[in-house]
Symmetry: C2
Subunit: 179 residues, 2 copies
């Protein structure tokens, strides 16, 4: 597999009544209108069963200060370890998608589809709401320097945060001329 | 949509005989055994037609030094602009998946499936080969400080590179104790 930087997310779900969080680095946007996202996970994940059970889940973006808790949720399966006390949990409009207050960004989703691959499943959801910690806003917009969101270097780590800004997107290439 | 760091990739394909590259930030791993990856793109992308045509494509990871060319490939559609001269192109074992020599990591894939969503399509491929620029290795392993891989802050940028290492993955949570 290639070495590349990936976002780290905590997938939250209620599994047989119990709050669970599962750490995942295989996640992507699917669309922006309507906003949809997807996470890829192993076939035996208890989080997936909880998502099917309730039809809701959350994608929480942890910051550097939650690195130990985030790594912990990746090391232990919810089938064996009770992860309901790892974070201070809150619920939003769906009422059943647990979200971690320690994460500065929380995305609340309803289940759209589960796509089965050979060795993994992709959980696709529609974004119902995005919650952002007000302390991480600058002039009303999310500020990456304040957010300190965790990223992960595949395969095997480490976790890292945003470094040097290289250029503006949709501007850097305006004057580019191919050979 | 939430603010989050995402990898930037250049999807390469031959479209009606012409080399094309399309910039995408919606990409994920699907599995590691066998290694599989996926990229999400708009329904009208000419790259997708080329992938269907040949059954092969590439995922190229650009470094900071290619930011203008990378942004250019995101600003212009291959349906309107000839992007075959943007990069120095090479081919690998599949013979039809064009790869950009300027990108320090190139992944060559065969098409596995195209999953259709409402407004986008996900191209899923099996990794056939990964090529890494030898100058970006340290003790035989890809070195993120040398690679300077581009990441993208959704939605709207900027492009950035890896910053501070926060902790080792699969270690940072070993001693964590939930409340």
């Amino acid at each position: 597999m290639p070495t590349m930087g990936l976002p780290v997310v905590l997938v939250g779900a209620k599994c047989q009544g119990k709050v669970n969080f599962c750490t995942v680095a295989w996640a992507t946007m699917i669309d922006d209108e309507p906003p949809m996202m997807a996470v890829v996970m192993g076939k035996d994940r208890c989080t997936k069963e909880g998502i099917k059970e309730n039809g809701t889940f959350s994608i929480n973006l942890p910051s550097a200060s939650s690195v130990a808790a985030t790594d912990y949720c990746g090391l232990h399966s919810g089938n064996k370890v009770d992860k309901s006390m790892v974070f201070d949990v809150f619920f939003g409009k769906t009422l059943t998608a647990p979200m971690a207050r320690e994460c500065p960004i929380n995305v609340e989703l309803t289940l759209d589809d589960i796509i089965e691959f050979e060795g993994t499943d992709m959980v696709v959801g529609e974004v119902e709401e995005v919650y952002v910690d007000e302390e991480c806003l600058t002039s009303g917009r999310p500020d990456m320097e304040k957010l300190q969101l965790l990223l992960y270097l595949s395969s095997g780590g480490p976790y890292f945060v945003k470094g040097r800004t290289v250029a503006e997107a949709f501007k850097a290439g305006r004057d580019f001329q191919p050979r």
